[in-house]
Symmetry: C2
Subunit: 405 residues, 2 copies
């Protein structure tokens, strides 16, 4: 029951990136659950990871390997998060890297491992070497959709966004895939996302642009407030388009940054539209804040309120719940007489008082929509932000009460 | 579907307190929805209120009246919160106070108004004067249960606790009632609670003891993290037992404080056991914290996690979700290698690693219980705290998606 979300139609290949998805029998039967991504020589790589203190074994190893060298392969499994698995989990993840290294003659530290799925269960890797061999003999530039499908867990639809822009008269491509549906409140990135471009971008510049784009995309979405142990987002720049994005060229940087921002935001939105049990796609737009921290605190308090989320599920214009959530936000000295609220274009509250133009009928029209924007004007300054979320439905409970069984 | 909660059997009358519950036709048909409480001359009163910035009209008026004089009457309605109602709401609440004052010849400022129910709808008070007259001719010392029933909204069971203790050889009574089931994360008190004793206690001493007791009871519970606009807790001391609790007598103060702590904690637990859709009563016990703030942050992060709450509903020992919630708590530099987790007496995690003694069967036995304790040892100090919550079920969604319709 994704909200106005369809499988990606076109995912442009990115020169210099090959992928394969295979079956490794990790948890699911009869479906692909292991993805190998190969980057051509000279590809630069940037990445952001979860800030959860209990981060998974593969996240530890990714950080270690990235500090040491430039990666050549990404190995991603679904069905098991390899988190909360202690030393055995670390060993399992190292074995996966070693298996790729052996079969490709690269160094073990040039392999980055990623896992997603259930937490706290041992990851059995005995079938990995054979699966990796199969993957290596099937690497292809056009396997992005295959890969997007193989990394899914409770996702109902494969997620990918692809775009092409012209810079200095030459075409460059950006293609990304992502997975994630529950345990979504990324604090760096969401569960798993892989984005590649054929532009040539030096590593530190790539990392800076990734962080900028992440703030307004994956770090601005929430399904349930639960930051995962495995969140990872990787951005790869192969350089094979022949177009170089130089940190000293503000115009080209801005052009590329805009395209990257847009792609990551669209990709982040696919996560919310396919959020567990989602029937509505909600934009929380906080304006007139004095700081980004205040704006985000208010936006997330509303976005996480179970009462607001169930009212949205019921299409019930019970705006008192939005008001109550704004009122309990942990911000200093909120003057309610300066606060105004809107549902779409319909004003609910004007300077702390019920808006005279409001009627239940108008509220109902807005609430019946599948895409709903809640605007909260704080009257404290000129900073604004957006956070995206969805509603809380029976289906969310069903999915999460039955996930392991 | 309250969790091991039954209607109160005995609610001892408190000398000096009379109550009546009547029908005022506010929202519900054929049930009592208005309560009047009368305090005898000389009764001292303490109170705590919500910290929600959008607090309701009656909360504003309570604060104002309490600053001015000692109250003589409490007037409580259910069915409408009179919150988010602007000036009209303030006028409606003042009219209620004026009506009691007129009919009893007390001052309007000696009446404290309280409301609970739906937010953002006008409170129609035209039937209040007649209802108040009926109440005044029916005031009785033994109407505590009647009152507990009349203040209910989505509560399924009336809530009250009563106790008698001996101090200096004389019996004193403490009796309290409460209501609340959803929008529960009190930041002072819970929705509505009224507690009375016949001990004689000077107002400032009473307020201090109330605040101490509130921290470990109503301020340590959560259903959904949504702090209400109307939370109010009133403690009345009539003095009619002839026993005086003097601030300068540490032993008597400690004895009374212990009885009060216990009563408020039990009353707060009734709210959680009857929390919307609750099928489990959960104690989150955080130990070895370096500060109360850290302990509470961890406890509430776990208590609010929709993924932990749905796993509890499913009786699924999916402890990875607890671990993930601890890991995302906003506390500085959590060393996961010092963290241990228990479900009941069953250890899940020992110093950051899966406990060797753990088995899925043991976890399942704990999870099948209706009362479950999750213990989180942080290894950072010697401060501990408890927070009480419940699970997240289909019924919660049903109640909150259908509340207004």
């Amino acid at each position: 029951m994704a909200v106005q979300l369809h499988p990606p139609k076109t995912l442009h290949p990115v020169k210099g990136i090959k992928l394969a998805a295979v079956e490794a029998g990790i948890r699911y039967q009869g479906r692909k659950d292991l993805v190998l991504i190969e980057m051509s020589e000279g590809t630069q790589c940037a990445a952001v990871f979860t800030r959860n203190a209990f981060c998974a074994a593969p996240v530890h190893i990714c950080r270690k390997h990235l500090a040491k060298t430039t990666p050549h392969y990404l190995l991603i499994n679904s069905g098991n998060a390899n988190a909360g698995t202690g030393d055995a989990g670390m060993q399992a993840a190292y074995q996966c890297c070693a298996s790729v290294a052996e079969q490709t003659s690269c160094d073990q530290s040039q392999v980055l491992p990623f896992s997603t799925g259930v937490i706290g269960e041992p990851l059995a890797v005995n079938q990995f070497p054979t699966a990796i061999a199969t993957a290596l003999s099937n690497m292809a530039e056009d396997a992005w959709l295959d890969a997007a499908q193989a990394i899914m867990t409770t996702d109902t639809i494969a997620k990918g966004i692809s775009t092409q822009i012209e810079i200095v008269g030459k075409l460059i491509t950006l293609t990304g895939i992502a997975k994630g549906s529950g345990m979504i409140k990324p604090d760096m990135a969401t569960l798993l996302a892989y984005v590649a471009t054929d532009a040539a971008i030096e590593a530190s510049h790539l990392q800076a642009m990734l962080q900028t784009a992440t703030d307004q995309s994956f770090n601005s979405i929430t399904v349930d407030g639960d930051t995962s142990t495995n969140d990872s987002l990787v951005l790869m720049a192969t350089g094979q388009s022949g177009v170089s994005i130089d940190a000293n060229n503000p115009q080209q940087t801005a052009q590329f940054q805009a395209a990257l921002d847009n792609l990551l935001q669209q990709l982040a939105h696919t996560i919310i539209r396919d959020g567990e049990g989602a029937t509505k796609f909600i934009t929380i737009h906080v304006t007139q804040a004095e700081s980004i921290e205040t704006a985000r605190e208010v936006a997330y308090t509303v976005a996480h309120s179970p009462l607001v989320k169930t009212a949205l599920f019921a299409s019930d214009p019970n705006w008192g719940r939005i008001l109550a959530a704004v009122g309990r936000s942990k911000i200093a000295q909120l003057d309610v007489n300066k606060v105004s609220l809107y549902l779409g274009d319909t004003q609910l509250l004007a300077n702390g008082m019920p808006a005279e133009t409001y009627s239940e009928e108008k509220g109902q029209i807005e609430m019946n929509k599948e895409d709903i924007t809640i605007t909260i004007q704080l009257g404290r300054g000129d900073v604004e932000t957006k956070v995206w979320t969805n509603d809380l439905s029976y289906e969310y409970i069903k999915i999460n009460a039955e996930y392991r069984s």
